[in-house]
Amino acid sequence: MNKPLPNSFRQGPDARGRFGQFGGRFVAETLMPLILEVEQAYEAAKKDTAFQAEWRRLLTHYVGRPSPLWYADRLTTHLRAKAAPGMGAKVYFKRDELNHTGAHKINAVLGQILLAKKMGKTRIIAETGAGQHGVATATACALFDLPCTVFMGATDVERQQPNVFRMKLLGAEVVPVTSGAATLKDAMNEALRHWVAHVHDTYYCIGTVAGPHPYPAMVRDFQSVIGEETREQMMAAEGRLPDALVAAIGGGSNAMGLFYPFLDDESVAMYGVEAAGKGVETHEHAASLTKGRPGVLHGNRTYLLQDEFGQILEAHSISAGLDYPGVGPEHSWLHELGRVNYVHATDDEALSAFQLCSRLEGIIPALEPAHALAYVLHQAPAMPADKIIVMNMCGRGDKDIFTVARHLGVKL
C-alpha cells in the first residue's frame, strides 16, 4: 500500500476500462466489436437527458424509488445492550429490498434495457445466481416486450426454485447450465458463449459490476442511485454523513452502488462483506479478495479464487448470489488502495443474522445482505454510540426461506 493515493477515488475507469491494473476488456475477438458498441452507446446515453429522464421515471414510478432509509431501532437497542457502556453505533438500513422485484438489481437492469432498446437490440440475455438479477431482467423484458433468456447454474435452479418460477411467469426462458459446479460462474460462461453466437440482435444484461469494460462502470453508475439517495436521506435524518457503510460482496454491485458516492468522503469508513462459506480457512468459501489473487476471468482482471496454476476454483456460499469466485475490478482496486475494508461472514453467521433481523425488525433479509448484517452485529457494538452505520439491505429473503428452512432442519 505504498503507492500514492489518487486525488479522487471516483475517476475510474480510464480509457482502457482499467481501475489501476484491474478491469480491462479481456474478451475474444468475436465479442470485441460489440463491447465497443456497448461502450459507445453507454457514453452517449450518459449525456442523453431524455434517456436519463426515462430511467429516473421508471425508478420512481415502477421500482418505487427512493427506497427508505430505516433506522433499525430495535436492532440498535439489542446491540447496545450487549456492548460496553457508551458503545453501540446507530444502525440504519438502506431498504433496497423494497424495490419492485425485491432487490437492488432492477436499478441497473432498467438502465441496461433502455440502452439495449436504444442500440436496436431485440433480444436480452442475462446470467443469474440467486435469481434476483434474472427476475429483474425478466421483469424489465416483460415491461418492454423483449424476449429474454436467463442462464442459471443447475445447482442454483435447484436451490432457488421460487425465482425460477417467477422468471417463467414473467415470460423468460430459463436455461439451466450444467458445466462446472453449475453455479453463477458457469452461468456467466454460458451467457458469454451464447452472446458470441448471437451478437447481431442480442444484448447481454450483466447483473454485477464485473465483466469487460464498460459493464463494471455502467452497472456501478446505475446502482449509485443507492448511495446518492442514502446521502440525501442521511443528511435529512441526522444532518451529517454516516461513519460507516456496510454491504455484502458477491460481484459487488450493491456495495459499489452504496459506496461510490461516498468514496471521496474521508470520514466515511466502508466495509465490503464477502461470503466466508464454511470459513475462509476451509476450501469452501467465496472470499475472492480475502483469499484470492489477481487474474483474468469473464473479461476483466480482478481478484479470483484460483489454484497455483491459474485454474479457477469453485466458490461456495449458502447464498447463491455471493457464490462467485471473482469480484468486480473496482473492488479489487479499492482493496489494494485500502479505501474499502473487505471482511467476511460465514454461512452460519449469515443464518443467525437472518433470523435475528426477522425477529427484531420484522424484515426478512435475503441471505446476501444477511452477510452484511452479520458484520454489522460484530462491528456496531465496537463503535461508540454516537456513530452511525448504514447497511445496504439489498434484497428480501422470500426467495431464501426454503434454503434457510432446510439449514434449520425445518420441513416445509
Binding site: R25, E29, L31, M32, P33, N189, V296, E308, G310, Q311
Partner: protein
Amino acid sequence: MSRIATRFAALKEQGRGALVTFLEGYDPDPATSMAILHGLPGAGADVIEIGVPFTDPMADGPSIQKGGLRALKSGATLAGVLAMVRDFRKEDSATPIVLMGYYNPVLSYGVDRFCTDAAASGVDGLIIVDVPPEEADEVEPQAKANGLDLIRLVAPTTDDARLPRVLAATSGFVYYVSITGITGTRSASTADLAAAVPRLRPHTDLPICIGFGIRTPEQAAEAARLADGAVVGTALVDTLAASLDEQGHAKPDTVRKVLDQVRALAEAVHGVRKAA
C-alpha cells in the same frame, strides 16, 4: 525465418494448403496425448495447435470444454504442456507448434517466464483467445522478444474499420473464425468459408487459415482451396472422446482413431492443388 513462415512458404511452393490440427494437451491423459502429438506430422498435420486446458474456456463449445476438463483431471498444467513440446522437439524440429488457450494460466505462470520457457521448449506461436489487440501490450513485447508469433483470431464481426488494427497485431498466420459462435457448435457454410479471403487479403500478406465449424475432409479441402489452410479441432476432440471407455480412459485404438481421421483430413486438404 520462423518455423511457421518456413512451413507456409514450403507449402506455397508445393502448391498445397495447410492442415492445422487442434487437440487439448493431456486429453485424455499425458501418455495418449503425447503419442498423438508424435504421430500428427506423419499423419499429415502441417501445423499443430495444442490447447492449454482452462477451467473456463469462454470461446469453446461442449466438446472442447469436456476435453479440457478431462485434461485437467489427468493433471494438465501449462508447464506440463511445455514439457510435451520439448519431448516432441526431440523428434521433430520442423513442424510448427502453436499453443492455444486463455490468459489466466499464462498470467499465473508469469508472462515473461512463460514466453522464455515456451520459446526454449520449441513453441512457435501463441493464440491467447481472451487477449484482444486492445490488451496486446500484456503479452506482445515478451512474445516478440522471444520470437513467438502472436496469432490473432479475426471474426465475422471484426468490421472493416477494425480489421487493419487486428491484422497489424498479428504475426505467423491469421486465424479466420468462419462462424459467429463458439467452437464446434455450427458447421461453416461454403458462403461462410468464401467470405474470409476477399475480406482479409487486401489487408495482409500473412497466410490465412480458416477454423471454427470445419469438421469434414470436404469442408477442410474447401477451406484450403479458398484460403491457405484449414483448422480442425472439435471433430478430432469428438473422435478422441468417442474412443474412450466409460470411465473416460483411453482404449488401445484411441491414438490410431484420431490419427486416421487426421490422415483423411490431410489427404483431402493436400489433394487441393493451388497456384504456387
